[in-house]
């Protein structure tokens, strides 16, 4: 299962261009989508789920072109978890999933089997009789993810699935997605760089409707290699002056002063040493290049 996006443009009625002549190929496995707020990630996902029609350009899913006449074929292969969704507050978790499974056309016995499996996988089995309105934000998010997985789609699109989850829940969801991505394509959008670092080999970085980068995580890290520096400054005034000169990706009070991480192609003119590049550093470096 692969997705090809060629020269895609999405312009809204108010003339705002959310995606501007973008090209991308999404291979099998987990593919990360990273970008600041308003970069166009959600718009891209809405195009891929057929909610939004592109203004121009083409999108192909396994050789099927995104066109109204093919939407039914495409929709059968997609599972989607939007950024915000409020599932039926008066239904219990079990009822809600059964209802959505029925709407999706999944045979009842199979649907029940899958619900049980995914409830266990997401540690929601003991909460299955709770009403949706009684769940915490993280639990609701997990139920949302189950509904996207229920039809076992070949192409899973998930918009910020780990929002509102505690660290343990995040790890659980990440592992579930990794398991699910075998022989499938999972497009995973997030602001949490850590989640992508832990799950994806491939990713794309969006900014203002363009793809700044598309490729492997390692290549992105290599791109920033030698451009990340750790230094220690004594007083806050010196730290402020550095912040004005350079892009600082982290700042922390330590015993000997203030520990700072600077992103710069050239070595800063202060005592510093090259640092190990994290995905977050590489992302910040790329978006501010």
């Amino acid at each position: 299962m692969s997705i090809q996006i060629n020269d895609l443009t999405v312009t809204f009625k108010n003339k705002v261009t959310a995606i501007d002549h973008a090209n991308l190929e999404i291979p099998s496995g987990i593919f990360g989508l990273l970008g600041e707020n308003g970069a166009g990630k959600t718009t891209l996902m809405r195009v891929l789920t057929t909610i939004l029609a592109p203004t121009s350009g083409t999108v192909m899913l396994d050789g099927i072109q995104y066109h109204e006449k093919n939407y039914a074929k495409i929709q059968k292969r997609i599972g989607y978890l939007p950024q915000e969704i409020d599932l039926y507050p008066n239904l219990t978790v079990q009822e809600c999933l059964e209802y959505l499974g029925d709407l999706a056309g999944i045979p009842k016995p199979l649907c029940k089997e899958r619900i049980q499996y995914y409830l266990e996988k997401t540690s929601l089995t003991e909460h299955r009789r709770k009403k949706m309105r009684q769940l915490s934000g993280g639990m609701k998010r997990r139920v949302g993810l189950i509904q996207a997985l229920l039809s076992e789609p070949a192409f899973l699109i998930i918009d910020e699935p780990t929002t509102g989850l505690d660290p343990e829940e995040r790890i659980r969801i990440r592992n579930l997605l990794v398991d699910f991505s075998e022989n499938r394509t999972v497009l995973f959008s997030t602001h949490v760089v850590e989640d992508l670092a832990a799950t994806c080999n491939q990713l794309a970085v969006m900014k203002k409707g363009h793809f700044l980068y598309a490729g492997s995580v390692q290549e992105l890290l290599d791109h920033a290699d030698g451009c990340v520096w750790d230094c220690m400054v004594k007083d806050p005034a010196e730290a402020r002056s550095l912040e004005q000169k350079y892009r600082v990706s982290s700042k922390q009070y330590a015993e000997g002063g203030i520990q700072m991480r600077i992103l710069s192609r050239l070595k800063p003119k202060i005592p510093c040493r090259p640092a190990h590049v994290t995905l977050e550093d590489a992302y910040i470096y790329l978006t501010n290049e």
């Binding site: 809405r46 789920t49 057929t50 909610i51 039914a72 929709q75 059968k76 997609i78 599972g79 989607y80 978890l81 939007p82 915000e84 969704i85 409020d86 599932l87 039926y88 008066n90 239904l91 009822e95 059964e98 209802y99 959505l100 029925d102 709407l103 999706a104 056309g105 509904q147 996207a148």
Partner: protein
Amino acid sequence: MRKEIKIALPLSKIIYALFFIVIMSLICGISVSYEIGSKLEPAMAILAAAFCADTYVQEVTSRRSEIERLYPMKKRICSVGTRLLIQELFLLLLAAAGYGLFLLFQKPILLSVLPTGNGDEITQFFVCLAAVAVTLCFWGILSNTLACLFRSLWFGFGGCLLLWLITNSTFGDRHLGSWNIFSYTFRDAENSGDFSWLAGKGVCIVFCIAACAILPKLLKRRG
């Protein structure tokens, strides 16, 4: 079906509908029992418009419509239809209860006490219920259709309110006559043999059929 009932009839809706009908039967004065239909029909119409406006549009506001777009249209239509049916049946039962409450609270003169020519009480009740059933369908479907069209509950209810004010008025009665959607309200109540109001109900039924036919297209375009 049980899940659809839970979705279509949350407790808050049931409570406000019950309050509405109790208050209506308490404050609307009538002297003869054949006036109940004239009071009940417009009241149930506006209640149906408010009650059914969010039948589908709740999926849009909760963003559930974004995942439902991936589901087969037949299933989605079936779900909206079932919800409408549940709500209409609930409102019809409420209308029947409201008829009883009018009799209880207002203690009107019954037909059996009046001189002949006004029919019997039971027939009048069922005729009233049939007219109200068509009215409920019309206003419920209209508000749901408008809400789907404008993707807003308030447009659904607001549009209905505007039409309600126009048709449930002297203007509506004079200019639309028996073709008025409130033809039963404005019928010659003293003449039980007058069924010219059926024309107005016919208009309602035609509209309901047309609205149901365009619903799939509406969900596809605006859903």
